[in-house]
Amino acid sequence: MSLSEHDVRHVAMLARLALTDDEVEAMRTDLNAILGHIDEIQRLDLGDVAPMAHAIKVVNVTRPDVVTPSFPQDVAVMNAPQAENGAFVIPQIVGGGDEA
Protein backbone atom coordinates (compact mmCIF):
# COMPACT_ATOMS: atom_id res chain seq x y z
CA MET A 1 0.00 0.00 0.00
CA SER A 2 1.30 3.44 -0.83
CA LEU A 3 0.08 6.72 0.62
CA SER A 4 -0.77 9.62 -1.66
CA GLU A 5 -0.51 13.27 -0.70
CA HIS A 6 -4.30 13.25 -0.33
CA ASP A 7 -4.08 10.29 2.10
CA VAL A 8 -1.46 12.05 4.20
CA ARG A 9 -3.60 15.19 4.46
CA HIS A 10 -6.64 13.07 5.38
CA VAL A 11 -4.75 11.22 8.15
CA ALA A 12 -3.27 14.50 9.42
CA MET A 13 -6.79 15.88 9.79
CA LEU A 14 -7.90 12.74 11.66
CA ALA A 15 -4.84 13.17 13.93
CA ARG A 16 -5.49 16.90 14.35
CA LEU A 17 -2.03 17.86 13.11
CA ALA A 18 -1.53 20.96 10.97
CA LEU A 19 1.26 19.98 8.55
CA THR A 20 3.04 22.35 6.18
CA ASP A 21 3.32 21.36 2.52
CA ASP A 22 6.96 20.37 3.11
CA GLU A 23 5.97 18.26 6.10
CA VAL A 24 3.26 16.51 4.06
CA GLU A 25 5.81 15.52 1.44
CA ALA A 26 8.42 14.38 4.01
CA MET A 27 5.74 12.47 5.91
CA ARG A 28 4.58 10.75 2.71
CA THR A 29 8.14 9.59 1.97
CA ASP A 30 8.81 8.42 5.54
CA LEU A 31 5.47 6.66 6.03
CA ASN A 32 5.74 4.87 2.70
CA ALA A 33 9.23 3.63 3.60
CA ILE A 34 8.00 2.40 7.00
CA LEU A 35 4.84 0.82 5.53
CA GLY A 36 7.01 -0.78 2.86
CA HIS A 37 8.70 -2.69 5.68
CA ILE A 38 5.74 -3.44 7.92
CA ASP A 39 3.48 -4.54 5.05
CA GLU A 40 5.35 -7.86 5.30
CA ILE A 41 3.16 -8.68 8.28
CA GLN A 42 0.23 -9.10 5.91
CA ARG A 43 1.95 -12.09 4.35
CA LEU A 44 1.90 -14.04 7.63
CA ASP A 45 -0.78 -16.73 7.62
CA LEU A 46 -2.59 -15.92 10.87
CA GLY A 47 -6.20 -16.69 9.90
CA ASP A 48 -7.43 -18.54 12.99
CA VAL A 49 -5.15 -16.96 15.58
CA ALA A 50 -6.89 -15.01 18.33
CA PRO A 51 -5.72 -11.38 18.58
CA MET A 52 -3.78 -10.36 21.69
CA ALA A 53 -4.54 -6.91 23.06
CA HIS A 54 -2.79 -7.23 26.38
CA ALA A 55 0.01 -9.21 28.02
CA ILE A 56 -1.78 -10.20 31.19
CA LYS A 57 -5.27 -11.51 31.56
CA VAL A 58 -7.03 -9.15 33.91
CA VAL A 59 -10.72 -8.44 33.49
CA ASN A 60 -12.88 -5.80 35.15
CA VAL A 61 -10.55 -4.79 37.98
CA THR A 62 -12.66 -3.02 40.57
CA ARG A 63 -12.13 -1.35 43.89
CA PRO A 64 -14.55 -1.04 46.81
CA ASP A 65 -17.27 1.48 45.95
CA VAL A 66 -16.19 3.99 48.55
CA VAL A 67 -15.84 7.72 48.00
CA THR A 68 -12.24 8.85 48.44
CA PRO A 69 -10.69 12.29 47.90
CA SER A 70 -10.06 12.95 44.23
CA PHE A 71 -7.97 15.46 42.32
CA PRO A 72 -8.54 18.93 43.78
CA GLN A 73 -9.80 21.53 41.32
CA ASP A 74 -6.88 23.92 41.78
CA VAL A 75 -4.40 21.13 40.97
CA ALA A 76 -6.47 20.03 37.97
CA VAL A 77 -6.21 23.47 36.35
CA MET A 78 -2.72 24.42 37.49
CA ASN A 79 -1.14 23.50 34.13
CA ALA A 80 -3.93 24.97 32.00
CA PRO A 81 -2.77 27.39 29.27
CA GLN A 82 -5.76 29.53 30.25
CA ALA A 83 -8.01 29.10 33.28
CA GLU A 84 -10.56 31.21 35.06
CA ASN A 85 -12.47 30.54 38.31
CA GLY A 86 -11.17 26.96 38.40
CA ALA A 87 -12.36 26.23 34.85
CA PHE A 88 -10.52 25.78 31.53
CA VAL A 89 -10.97 28.65 29.08
CA ILE A 90 -11.37 27.62 25.44
CA PRO A 91 -12.52 29.32 22.23
CA GLN A 92 -16.27 29.40 21.82
CA ILE A 93 -17.55 26.11 20.37
CA VAL A 94 -21.34 26.44 20.24
CA GLY A 95 -23.62 29.08 18.79
CA GLY A 96 -22.53 32.66 18.37
CA GLY A 97 -25.92 33.93 19.56
CA ASP A 98 -26.70 35.79 22.78
CA GLU A 99 -26.17 32.98 25.32
CA ALA A 100 -22.91 34.58 26.44
Partner: protein, 496 residues
Protein backbone atom coordinates in the same frame (compact mmCIF):
# COMPACT_ATOMS: atom_id res chain seq x y z
CA UNK B 1 34.63 11.67 54.36
CA UNK B 2 34.96 8.02 53.41
CA UNK B 3 37.23 6.61 50.69
CA UNK B 4 34.19 5.59 48.68
CA UNK B 5 34.24 6.89 45.08
CA UNK B 6 30.61 7.94 44.72
CA UNK B 7 30.86 8.06 40.93
CA UNK B 8 31.45 4.32 40.76
CA UNK B 9 30.03 3.07 44.07
CA UNK B 10 27.05 0.73 44.18
CA UNK B 11 23.79 1.41 46.00
CA UNK B 12 24.68 -1.29 48.49
CA UNK B 13 28.07 0.30 49.25
CA UNK B 14 26.59 3.76 49.68
CA UNK B 15 23.83 2.59 52.00
CA UNK B 16 26.30 0.57 54.07
CA UNK B 17 28.67 3.56 54.34
CA UNK B 18 25.82 5.76 55.58
CA UNK B 19 24.57 3.11 57.99
CA UNK B 20 28.14 2.71 59.27
CA UNK B 21 28.44 6.49 59.70
CA UNK B 22 31.43 6.63 57.37
CA UNK B 23 29.66 9.42 55.54
CA UNK B 24 26.37 11.27 55.86
CA UNK B 25 23.57 11.33 53.32
CA UNK B 26 23.98 15.11 53.03
CA UNK B 27 27.66 14.59 52.15
CA UNK B 28 26.54 12.15 49.45
CA UNK B 29 23.99 14.63 48.08
CA UNK B 30 26.46 17.54 48.09
CA UNK B 31 29.18 15.48 46.40
CA UNK B 32 26.83 14.17 43.72
CA UNK B 33 25.39 17.63 43.00
CA UNK B 34 28.94 18.95 42.61
CA UNK B 35 29.76 16.10 40.26
CA UNK B 36 26.65 16.81 38.17
CA UNK B 37 27.69 20.45 37.93
CA UNK B 38 31.06 19.33 36.60
CA UNK B 39 30.03 16.52 34.22
CA UNK B 40 26.51 17.40 33.10
CA UNK B 41 27.39 20.14 30.58
CA UNK B 42 29.26 17.54 28.50
CA UNK B 43 26.69 14.74 28.83
CA UNK B 44 23.27 16.45 29.11
CA UNK B 45 21.68 13.51 30.89
CA UNK B 46 19.30 15.75 32.85
CA UNK B 47 16.36 17.94 31.92
CA UNK B 48 16.18 19.23 35.49
CA UNK B 49 18.44 18.90 38.53
CA UNK B 50 16.71 19.11 41.92
CA UNK B 51 19.22 20.07 44.65
CA UNK B 52 16.52 21.06 47.17
CA UNK B 53 14.71 17.74 46.90
CA UNK B 54 17.99 15.80 47.16
CA UNK B 55 19.20 17.71 50.18
CA UNK B 56 15.92 17.53 52.08
CA UNK B 57 15.71 13.77 51.46
CA UNK B 58 19.32 13.46 52.67
CA UNK B 59 18.56 15.39 55.86
CA UNK B 60 15.75 12.95 56.64
CA UNK B 61 18.11 9.99 56.22
CA UNK B 62 20.72 11.63 58.46
CA UNK B 63 18.04 12.25 61.11
CA UNK B 64 17.23 8.53 61.04
CA UNK B 65 20.93 7.69 61.44
CA UNK B 66 21.21 10.16 64.36
CA UNK B 67 18.18 8.55 66.03
CA UNK B 68 19.63 5.08 65.55
CA UNK B 69 16.45 4.19 63.63
CA UNK B 70 16.15 1.42 61.06
CA UNK B 71 17.29 2.72 57.65
CA UNK B 72 15.20 2.08 54.53
CA UNK B 73 16.74 -0.32 51.98
CA UNK B 74 18.14 2.35 49.62
CA UNK B 75 18.93 5.02 52.22
CA UNK B 76 21.02 7.82 50.76
CA UNK B 77 21.37 6.29 47.29
CA UNK B 78 21.61 8.98 44.56
CA UNK B 79 18.80 8.47 42.04
CA UNK B 80 17.14 10.13 39.06
CA UNK B 81 14.02 9.54 37.01
CA UNK B 82 13.17 9.61 33.33
CA UNK B 83 11.33 12.82 32.56
CA UNK B 84 8.07 11.03 31.76
CA UNK B 85 7.53 10.24 35.47
CA UNK B 86 5.71 12.71 37.66
CA UNK B 87 7.27 13.91 40.89
CA UNK B 88 5.70 16.81 42.77
CA UNK B 89 8.08 19.75 42.82
CA UNK B 90 9.52 18.90 39.39
CA UNK B 91 8.54 19.49 35.79
CA UNK B 92 7.51 16.48 33.71
CA UNK B 93 8.20 17.35 30.08
CA UNK B 94 8.82 14.06 28.22
CA UNK B 95 11.53 16.17 26.50
CA UNK B 96 8.72 17.70 24.43
CA UNK B 97 7.91 21.32 23.67
CA UNK B 98 4.25 20.48 24.15
CA UNK B 99 4.89 19.81 27.87
CA UNK B 100 7.54 22.49 28.49
CA UNK B 101 7.13 23.74 32.04
CA UNK B 102 4.46 21.15 32.97
CA UNK B 103 4.35 20.89 36.76
CA UNK B 104 3.87 17.37 38.14
CA UNK B 105 0.47 17.38 39.87
CA UNK B 106 1.12 14.11 41.73
CA UNK B 107 3.80 11.42 42.18
CA UNK B 108 4.37 8.45 39.90
CA UNK B 109 3.96 5.32 42.06
CA UNK B 110 7.35 3.82 41.14
CA UNK B 111 9.07 7.13 41.96
CA UNK B 112 7.17 7.47 45.24
CA UNK B 113 8.12 3.92 46.23
CA UNK B 114 11.78 4.53 45.44
CA UNK B 115 11.68 7.71 47.52
CA UNK B 116 10.08 5.77 50.36
CA UNK B 117 13.03 3.36 50.07
CA UNK B 118 15.32 6.27 50.91
CA UNK B 119 16.88 7.44 47.64
CA UNK B 120 18.07 11.00 47.08
CA UNK B 121 16.19 12.47 44.06
CA UNK B 122 18.79 14.30 41.95
CA UNK B 123 16.57 15.18 39.02
CA UNK B 124 14.73 14.25 35.87
CA UNK B 125 16.49 12.61 32.94
CA UNK B 126 16.57 13.57 29.29
CA UNK B 127 14.84 11.21 26.85
CA UNK B 128 13.62 10.87 23.29
CA UNK B 129 10.46 12.94 22.98
CA UNK B 130 7.59 10.92 24.51
CA UNK B 131 9.98 7.92 24.42
CA UNK B 132 9.85 7.80 20.61
CA UNK B 133 13.39 6.91 19.62
CA UNK B 134 16.39 4.62 20.02
CA UNK B 135 19.19 7.16 20.29
CA UNK B 136 18.06 10.12 22.39
CA UNK B 137 18.25 12.34 19.34
CA UNK B 138 14.53 13.09 19.17
CA UNK B 139 14.65 15.02 22.46
CA UNK B 140 13.46 18.62 22.16
CA UNK B 141 15.76 19.63 25.03
CA UNK B 142 19.08 18.74 23.38
CA UNK B 143 20.69 15.36 22.98
CA UNK B 144 22.20 13.25 25.76
CA UNK B 145 25.71 11.94 25.01
CA UNK B 146 27.23 8.51 25.55
CA UNK B 147 29.78 8.74 28.41
CA UNK B 148 31.97 6.15 26.66
CA UNK B 149 32.37 8.42 23.61
CA UNK B 150 30.71 11.83 23.63
CA UNK B 151 30.42 11.69 19.82
CA UNK B 152 28.10 8.70 20.07
CA UNK B 153 24.48 8.14 21.08
CA UNK B 154 23.67 6.71 24.53
CA UNK B 155 20.74 4.78 23.03
CA UNK B 156 17.13 5.51 23.74
CA UNK B 157 14.61 6.33 24.57
CA UNK B 158 15.76 6.39 28.23
CA UNK B 159 18.92 8.14 27.04
CA UNK B 160 19.57 10.36 30.05
CA UNK B 161 18.71 7.67 32.62
CA UNK B 162 21.38 5.43 31.06
CA UNK B 163 23.94 8.21 30.56
CA UNK B 164 23.54 9.49 34.13
CA UNK B 165 24.49 6.09 35.59
CA UNK B 166 27.32 5.50 33.11
CA UNK B 167 28.73 8.99 33.76
CA UNK B 168 28.66 8.47 37.53
CA UNK B 169 26.08 11.22 38.05
CA UNK B 170 23.52 8.86 39.64
CA UNK B 171 23.80 5.42 41.22
CA UNK B 172 20.41 4.16 40.08
CA UNK B 173 17.82 5.64 37.74
CA UNK B 174 14.40 4.71 36.46
CA UNK B 175 13.55 4.42 32.78
CA UNK B 176 10.55 3.13 30.86
CA UNK B 177 10.63 0.41 28.22
CA UNK B 178 7.99 0.10 25.49
CA UNK B 179 10.11 -1.61 22.82
CA UNK B 180 13.58 -1.67 24.41
CA UNK B 181 13.90 1.84 25.82
CA UNK B 182 15.58 0.63 29.03
CA UNK B 183 17.56 -2.36 27.78
CA UNK B 184 18.97 -0.89 24.56
CA UNK B 185 20.49 2.26 26.16
CA UNK B 186 21.64 -0.03 28.97
CA UNK B 187 23.61 -2.08 26.43
CA UNK B 188 25.03 0.99 24.71
CA UNK B 189 26.23 2.55 27.99
CA UNK B 190 27.54 -0.54 29.81
CA UNK B 191 24.87 -0.38 32.52
CA UNK B 192 22.56 -3.04 33.94
CA UNK B 193 19.05 -2.43 32.62
CA UNK B 194 15.88 -4.34 33.50
CA UNK B 195 12.48 -4.46 31.85
CA UNK B 196 10.26 -6.18 34.41
CA UNK B 197 7.28 -8.33 33.44
CA UNK B 198 4.29 -6.28 32.30
CA UNK B 199 2.28 -5.54 35.44
CA UNK B 200 5.18 -6.11 37.86
CA UNK B 201 5.60 -2.35 38.34
CA UNK B 202 2.75 0.18 38.38
CA UNK B 203 2.62 2.56 35.42
CA UNK B 204 0.65 5.17 37.35
CA UNK B 205 2.13 8.61 36.89
CA UNK B 206 4.32 7.65 33.93
CA UNK B 207 3.13 9.48 30.81
CA UNK B 208 1.62 6.79 28.56
CA UNK B 209 3.19 5.88 25.22
CA UNK B 210 1.70 2.44 24.45
CA UNK B 211 -0.26 1.29 27.47
CA UNK B 212 -0.19 -2.44 26.66
CA UNK B 213 3.62 -2.39 26.27
CA UNK B 214 5.02 0.26 28.67
CA UNK B 215 6.87 -0.87 31.79
CA UNK B 216 9.08 1.02 34.26
CA UNK B 217 12.42 -0.45 35.33
CA UNK B 218 15.86 0.38 36.72
CA UNK B 219 19.33 1.25 35.44
CA UNK B 220 22.22 0.44 37.76
CA UNK B 221 25.91 -0.49 37.86
CA UNK B 222 25.34 -3.96 39.25
CA UNK B 223 22.73 -6.69 39.01
CA UNK B 224 22.33 -6.62 42.79
CA UNK B 225 21.39 -2.92 42.69
CA UNK B 226 18.87 -3.67 39.94
CA UNK B 227 17.29 -6.27 42.23
CA UNK B 228 17.20 -3.80 45.13
CA UNK B 229 15.39 -1.22 43.02
CA UNK B 230 12.89 -3.73 41.63
CA UNK B 231 12.14 -4.96 45.17
CA UNK B 232 11.40 -1.36 46.15
CA UNK B 233 9.14 -0.39 43.23
CA UNK B 234 7.21 -3.59 42.38
CA UNK B 235 3.76 -4.70 43.52
CA UNK B 236 0.07 -4.01 43.19
CA UNK B 237 -1.02 -0.38 42.97
CA UNK B 238 -4.70 0.51 43.23
CA UNK B 239 -4.04 3.38 40.81
CA UNK B 240 -3.02 1.00 37.99
CA UNK B 241 -5.60 -1.68 37.26
CA UNK B 242 -3.03 -3.60 35.19
CA UNK B 243 -0.50 -3.87 38.01
CA UNK B 244 -0.24 -7.49 39.07
CA UNK B 245 -1.40 -9.05 42.34
CA UNK B 246 2.01 -10.58 42.70
CA UNK B 247 4.01 -10.53 45.91
CA UNK B 248 7.58 -9.25 45.87
CA UNK B 249 10.29 -11.89 46.01
CA UNK B 250 13.77 -11.98 47.45
CA UNK B 251 15.36 -10.68 44.27
CA UNK B 252 18.53 -9.66 46.11
CA UNK B 253 19.12 -13.20 47.38
CA UNK B 254 18.85 -14.43 43.76
CA UNK B 255 21.70 -12.11 42.74
CA UNK B 256 23.82 -13.07 45.73
CA UNK B 257 23.55 -16.82 45.13
CA UNK B 258 24.26 -16.37 41.38
CA UNK B 259 24.24 -20.15 41.10
CA UNK B 260 23.46 -21.34 37.58
CA UNK B 261 24.38 -25.03 37.97
CA UNK B 262 21.64 -26.97 36.20
CA UNK B 263 20.03 -23.85 34.76
CA UNK B 264 18.77 -24.40 31.23
CA UNK B 265 20.06 -21.60 28.99
CA UNK B 266 18.78 -21.26 25.42
CA UNK B 267 20.55 -19.40 22.64
CA UNK B 268 17.94 -17.95 20.27
CA UNK B 269 19.65 -19.18 17.13
CA UNK B 270 17.55 -17.65 14.39
CA UNK B 271 17.63 -14.18 15.95
CA UNK B 272 21.39 -14.38 16.42
CA UNK B 273 21.72 -14.97 12.68
CA UNK B 274 19.71 -11.94 11.63
CA UNK B 275 21.21 -9.59 9.09
CA UNK B 276 22.52 -6.45 10.76
CA UNK B 277 24.00 -7.94 13.92
CA UNK B 278 27.74 -7.24 13.98
CA UNK B 279 30.20 -10.16 14.29
CA UNK B 280 31.64 -8.87 17.60
CA UNK B 281 28.17 -8.62 19.15
CA UNK B 282 27.22 -12.11 17.93
CA UNK B 283 30.49 -13.55 19.22
CA UNK B 284 30.12 -11.96 22.66
CA UNK B 285 26.74 -13.68 23.08
CA UNK B 286 28.21 -17.05 22.07
CA UNK B 287 31.12 -16.47 24.47
CA UNK B 288 28.67 -15.70 27.29
CA UNK B 289 26.79 -18.91 26.51
CA UNK B 290 30.06 -20.83 26.79
CA UNK B 291 30.71 -19.19 30.17
CA UNK B 292 27.26 -20.33 31.36
CA UNK B 293 28.11 -23.87 30.27
CA UNK B 294 31.43 -23.68 32.13
CA UNK B 295 29.50 -22.62 35.25
CA UNK B 296 27.38 -25.76 35.09
CA UNK B 297 24.39 -24.58 33.08
CA UNK B 298 22.94 -26.65 30.26
CA UNK B 299 23.11 -24.68 27.04
CA UNK B 300 20.94 -25.42 23.99
CA UNK B 301 19.45 -23.68 20.99
CA UNK B 302 15.95 -22.56 20.18
CA UNK B 303 14.26 -20.64 17.35
CA UNK B 304 11.61 -17.97 17.77
CA UNK B 305 10.53 -17.78 14.12
CA UNK B 306 7.83 -15.13 14.49
CA UNK B 307 9.89 -12.76 16.64
CA UNK B 308 11.61 -11.34 13.57
CA UNK B 309 8.18 -10.03 12.53
CA UNK B 310 7.90 -8.36 15.94
CA UNK B 311 9.31 -5.12 14.56
CA UNK B 312 6.43 -4.85 12.09
CA UNK B 313 3.84 -5.73 14.72
CA UNK B 314 5.38 -3.23 17.12
CA UNK B 315 5.42 -0.38 14.60
CA UNK B 316 1.70 -0.89 14.19
CA UNK B 317 0.63 -1.54 17.80
CA UNK B 318 2.99 1.01 19.42
CA UNK B 319 2.03 3.95 17.18
CA UNK B 320 -1.66 2.93 17.26
CA UNK B 321 -1.71 3.12 21.05
CA UNK B 322 0.47 6.24 21.03
CA UNK B 323 -1.81 8.06 18.61
CA UNK B 324 -4.70 7.41 21.02
CA UNK B 325 -2.73 8.29 24.15
CA UNK B 326 -1.32 11.50 22.66
CA UNK B 327 -4.77 12.71 21.62
CA UNK B 328 -4.96 14.24 25.11
CA UNK B 329 -2.35 16.85 24.18
CA UNK B 330 -4.75 19.24 22.55
CA UNK B 331 -3.86 22.61 24.07
CA UNK B 332 -6.91 22.69 26.35
CA UNK B 333 -6.09 21.32 29.81
CA UNK B 334 -2.31 21.45 29.84
CA UNK B 335 0.66 21.91 27.58
CA UNK B 336 1.37 24.24 24.72
CA UNK B 337 -1.53 26.25 23.23
CA UNK B 338 -1.20 28.04 19.88
CA UNK B 339 -1.70 31.83 19.89
CA UNK B 340 -4.92 33.44 18.63
CA UNK B 341 -6.87 30.38 17.46
CA UNK B 342 -9.73 31.13 15.08
CA UNK B 343 -11.78 28.25 16.48
CA UNK B 344 -11.30 25.10 18.52
CA UNK B 345 -10.21 22.95 15.54
CA UNK B 346 -7.54 25.50 14.66
CA UNK B 347 -6.46 25.47 18.31
CA UNK B 348 -6.07 21.65 18.31
CA UNK B 349 -4.27 21.47 14.97
CA UNK B 350 -1.79 24.25 15.52
CA UNK B 351 -1.11 23.52 19.20
CA UNK B 352 -0.19 19.94 18.29
CA UNK B 353 1.77 20.94 15.20
CA UNK B 354 3.82 23.46 17.19
CA UNK B 355 4.24 21.22 20.24
CA UNK B 356 5.23 17.85 18.79
CA UNK B 357 8.59 17.11 17.14
CA UNK B 358 9.11 15.22 13.88
CA UNK B 359 9.27 11.69 15.31
CA UNK B 360 6.20 12.21 17.51
CA UNK B 361 4.25 13.44 14.47
CA UNK B 362 5.45 10.45 12.45
CA UNK B 363 4.27 7.96 15.09
CA UNK B 364 0.93 9.72 15.55
CA UNK B 365 0.38 9.66 11.80
CA UNK B 366 1.42 6.02 11.48
CA UNK B 367 -0.88 4.97 14.33
CA UNK B 368 -3.81 7.03 13.11
CA UNK B 369 -3.43 5.49 9.65
CA UNK B 370 -3.17 1.94 11.01
CA UNK B 371 -6.40 2.42 12.97
CA UNK B 372 -8.29 4.30 10.24
CA UNK B 373 -11.32 2.94 8.40
CA UNK B 374 -10.41 0.28 5.86
CA UNK B 375 -6.92 -0.47 7.23
CA UNK B 376 -7.67 -1.71 10.75
CA UNK B 377 -7.82 -5.43 9.90
CA UNK B 378 -4.82 -5.36 7.58
CA UNK B 379 -2.59 -3.65 10.13
CA UNK B 380 -3.78 -3.53 13.73
CA UNK B 381 -5.75 -6.79 13.60
CA UNK B 382 -2.91 -8.65 11.91
CA UNK B 383 -0.33 -7.22 14.35
CA UNK B 384 -2.39 -8.39 17.33
CA UNK B 385 -2.51 -11.89 15.89
CA UNK B 386 1.25 -11.88 15.33
CA UNK B 387 1.58 -10.80 18.95
CA UNK B 388 -0.29 -13.94 20.04
CA UNK B 389 2.08 -16.15 18.06
CA UNK B 390 5.20 -14.38 19.36
CA UNK B 391 3.98 -14.86 22.95
CA UNK B 392 3.15 -18.53 22.38
CA UNK B 393 6.60 -19.19 20.88
CA UNK B 394 8.15 -17.70 24.01
CA UNK B 395 5.93 -19.91 26.19
CA UNK B 396 7.02 -23.01 24.28
CA UNK B 397 10.68 -22.00 24.62
CA UNK B 398 10.27 -21.54 28.38
CA UNK B 399 9.07 -25.14 28.69
CA UNK B 400 12.58 -26.15 27.58
CA UNK B 401 14.68 -23.32 29.00
CA UNK B 402 14.89 -21.16 32.13
CA UNK B 403 16.36 -18.16 30.32
CA UNK B 404 17.04 -17.23 26.70
CA UNK B 405 20.02 -15.30 25.30
CA UNK B 406 20.21 -12.80 22.45
CA UNK B 407 22.19 -9.62 21.95
CA UNK B 408 20.39 -6.59 23.44
CA UNK B 409 21.32 -4.40 20.48
CA UNK B 410 22.58 -5.58 17.08
CA UNK B 411 25.51 -3.16 17.33
CA UNK B 412 27.42 -1.00 19.80
CA UNK B 413 26.76 2.75 20.21
CA UNK B 414 26.77 4.57 16.88
CA UNK B 415 27.68 8.15 15.99
CA UNK B 416 25.21 11.00 16.13
CA UNK B 417 23.31 11.43 12.88
CA UNK B 418 24.30 7.98 11.60
CA UNK B 419 20.73 6.70 11.48
CA UNK B 420 18.92 9.67 9.94
CA UNK B 421 16.37 7.46 8.21
CA UNK B 422 13.56 6.45 10.63
CA UNK B 423 13.32 2.82 9.49
CA UNK B 424 17.05 2.23 10.05
CA UNK B 425 16.61 3.61 13.56
CA UNK B 426 13.64 1.31 14.23
CA UNK B 427 15.77 -1.76 13.40
CA UNK B 428 17.95 -0.99 16.44
CA UNK B 429 15.24 -2.52 18.65
CA UNK B 430 14.84 -5.80 16.81
CA UNK B 431 15.93 -7.89 19.84
CA UNK B 432 14.08 -6.08 22.58
CA UNK B 433 10.67 -5.56 20.95
CA UNK B 434 9.39 -9.18 21.04
CA UNK B 435 9.64 -9.16 24.85
CA UNK B 436 7.38 -6.10 25.11
CA UNK B 437 4.87 -7.69 22.74
CA UNK B 438 4.75 -10.89 24.81
CA UNK B 439 4.96 -9.02 28.13
CA UNK B 440 7.59 -11.17 29.87
CA UNK B 441 10.82 -9.85 31.46
CA UNK B 442 14.42 -9.33 30.33
CA UNK B 443 17.64 -7.71 31.46
CA UNK B 444 20.64 -6.29 29.64
CA UNK B 445 23.96 -6.90 31.37
CA UNK B 446 27.41 -5.90 30.05
CA UNK B 447 29.16 -8.90 28.45
CA UNK B 448 32.12 -7.41 26.60
CA UNK B 449 33.52 -4.55 24.55
CA UNK B 450 34.08 -3.71 20.93
CA UNK B 451 37.65 -3.74 19.63
CA UNK B 452 39.51 -0.59 20.59
CA UNK B 453 39.26 2.10 17.93
CA UNK B 454 41.07 5.44 18.35
CA UNK B 455 41.51 4.64 22.04
CA UNK B 456 37.77 4.04 22.50
CA UNK B 457 36.07 0.76 23.26
CA UNK B 458 32.33 0.46 23.55
CA UNK B 459 30.26 -1.83 25.75
CA UNK B 460 28.19 -4.76 24.46
CA UNK B 461 25.04 -5.91 26.26
CA UNK B 462 23.83 -9.48 26.78
CA UNK B 463 20.03 -9.81 26.67
CA UNK B 464 18.81 -12.41 29.17
CA UNK B 465 15.10 -13.10 28.67
CA UNK B 466 12.86 -14.77 31.26
CA UNK B 467 9.28 -15.98 31.41
CA UNK B 468 6.44 -14.01 33.01
CA UNK B 469 7.42 -13.01 36.56
CA UNK B 470 10.71 -14.93 36.30
CA UNK B 471 12.79 -11.91 37.35
CA UNK B 472 14.52 -13.91 40.12
CA UNK B 473 15.86 -16.41 37.55
CA UNK B 474 16.92 -13.60 35.22
CA UNK B 475 18.73 -11.88 38.08
CA UNK B 476 20.47 -15.12 39.04
CA UNK B 477 21.74 -15.66 35.49
CA UNK B 478 22.74 -12.00 35.09
CA UNK B 479 24.61 -11.94 38.41
CA UNK B 480 26.42 -15.16 37.48
CA UNK B 481 27.72 -13.79 34.18
CA UNK B 482 28.54 -10.44 35.82
CA UNK B 483 30.62 -12.18 38.48
CA UNK B 484 32.24 -14.57 36.04
CA UNK B 485 33.28 -11.91 33.51
CA UNK B 486 34.20 -9.35 36.19
CA UNK B 487 34.35 -6.57 33.58
CA UNK B 488 35.45 -3.08 34.53
CA UNK B 489 32.38 -1.19 33.33
CA UNK B 490 33.46 2.29 34.41
CA UNK B 491 33.12 4.69 31.52
CA UNK B 492 36.03 7.05 30.74
CA UNK B 493 34.19 9.79 32.67
CA UNK B 494 34.53 7.78 35.89
CA UNK B 495 38.05 7.75 37.29
CA UNK B 496 39.41 4.80 39.20
Amino acid sequence: MSELNLASATATEIRDAIAGKELSAVEVAVAMLARIEEIEPAVHAFNQVTPDLALSAAEKIDALVADGAELPPLAGVPAAFKDNMNLVGTHTTCSSRILAGFESPYDCTAVARLLAAGVLPLGKCNMDEFAFGSSGESSATGTAKNPWDLGRVPGGSSAGSAAAVAAGMATVTLGSDTGGSIRQPGALTGTVALKPTYGRVSRYGCVAFASSLDQIGPFSRTVEDSARVLAAICGKDPHDATSAERPSEDFVAATQSADVAGMRVGIVRDLLELEGVTPEVRQSVLDAAARFEAMGATVGEVDLPTSKHGLSAYYIIGPAEASSNLARFDGIRYGHRAENPTDVLDLYMRSRAEGFGAEAKRRIMLGTYALSAGYYDAYYGQAQKARTVIASEFSAAFERFDVLLTPTSPQVAWKFGEKADPLTMYLADIYTIPVNLAGNCAISVPCGFSAENNGVRLPIGLHIIGDYFAEAKVFRAAAAIERDLALDVRSPLVSA
